[in-house]
Symmetry: C2
Subunit: 94 residues, 2 copies
């Protein structure tokens, strides 16, 4: 979680529109951003992407979508695998 | 929901492993299947995909991932947009 690059948005537990706004602000100056989430936030990442695309239509479109999993050590010391999703949103060239 | 083709698995509210088992059974006879979900089930679709890939390693891999949205009419008669995800899983050619 330390690589908090300005072109990546990590989805957490804030209200949905917080992430939509951040994404649109970042897309104002960058050609590509990536929305990342894991576990229960993955659905929110997809919702955020859809809202960003709809609100800015037809300026941006969905790029690569990757899913994977990460091993986390939970509070009882055991390993848990959580799924992850990375969605890129890119500016459409005119 | 009527196009319940045998090569598509719709994720709903059953236990996760139900879908994992269905997917692995379908992949025994088909080269490609698609896992579909919408709304809150999208995270489960990603979890199911990851477990299928891990349990059958290295036989299958993740193909195209598409996200979109659908307009539903909710019980109060208003339109609601829900996000959707379609994940394809394909057999690796040796």
């Amino acid at each position: 979680m330390s690589s908090n690059k300005a072109d990546t948005i990590y989805i957490g537990k804030k209200p949905l529109m917080t992430y939509v706004t951040s994404a649109i602000i970042q897309l104002a100056t960058m050609p590509v951003i990536t929305i990342k989430a894991r576990g229960q936030s993955m659905g929110t990442a997809i919702d955020v992407t859809q809202i960003v695309i709809r609100k800015t239509k037809p300026a941006f479109s969905i790029g690569d979508i990757k899913i994977g999993s990460e091993s986390l050590v939970s509070s009882d010391g055991r390993n848990r695998d959580v799924s992850t999703i990375d969605i890129s949103i890119k500016r459409n060239t005119p």
